[in-house]
Amino acid sequence: MAVDTKERPPATQQTDATAEQESRVQPYRIRTGMFAWMMHRLTGVGLVVYLIIHIWGLTALTDPETFNALIAKYHSPIFKVGEFGLLVAVAYHAMNGLRIVLIDFLGWSPKQKKLFWTLGAVTLAIVAVGGWPSIYALGEWLLGPGSMPTLFL
């Protein structure tokens, strides 16, 4: 075995600490702002994909039969679930985007945390009120007609 020098330590005696440093993946501490940013990206990309499908789908407007068939499909249970998911993504992206605009344009950064939770509450309210029709429709379908209360409808 060759002599181990300071310049070239043996590979077998590598400590866990150096192994961690050389790793390509950096461990992040996920804080509120980081989580908000990741979700903004994720919902943003999802919404672009939806936008593409949505604009493409609207070409059906040129033919009544095709359009009726498309809208009939939008009333199937799986689309009702998707509709709710879409609202969640839109509401989150819109409210977090508003937070970014308020911070960038009005310099509301000292109030960041408070703003985050306030807009979080607004998002929940939008999802609850706006998403109720989808939940109602799914409930009526699963549990039978007349089983859901007709709130906001």
């Binding site: 407007l61 809208i71 009939a72 839109v90 029709p133 429709a137």
Partner: protein, 150 residues
Amino acid sequence: MAQTNALNWFLHRITGTFLIFMLITHFWVQHYDHQAASVTHEVVTEKNEMPDYPEEAKAGVEARFGPDAEATPYQVVMQRLADPVYAVLWKGFNILFLIVALHHGFYGLNNVMTDYIRNPMGRLVAKSLSWTLALGLLIIGMYSVITAGW
């Protein structure tokens, strides 16, 4: 180039703010207005079954297209576009909505792609392809909006 990026950054925030108000209008008309909603919220249907529309929508379609007219999804949309003044307003709104949404979405998508694609050539390819797709969507979207109801 740097100036264009700063302008786009600024526009991204402006279009985002506009989209909040435009989306509220869009959702209201498409899902909650009992006369105009093309997707009637309370209804889940079985395969290929037409959704049943509220009385307001049926009355609106009959008033516009005669007592024999059926309230199908297509007719519910058309009653809105049958009034020329109203149609121009809605078409104008939808074209503006289309442009704003596409700019916002594809500018955002390009930001994301620039973060993960490190190679300059790859970035250029991703940028060109995505904006070509956006332009294509703008053209077919405008076509759908303008020709609807003709």
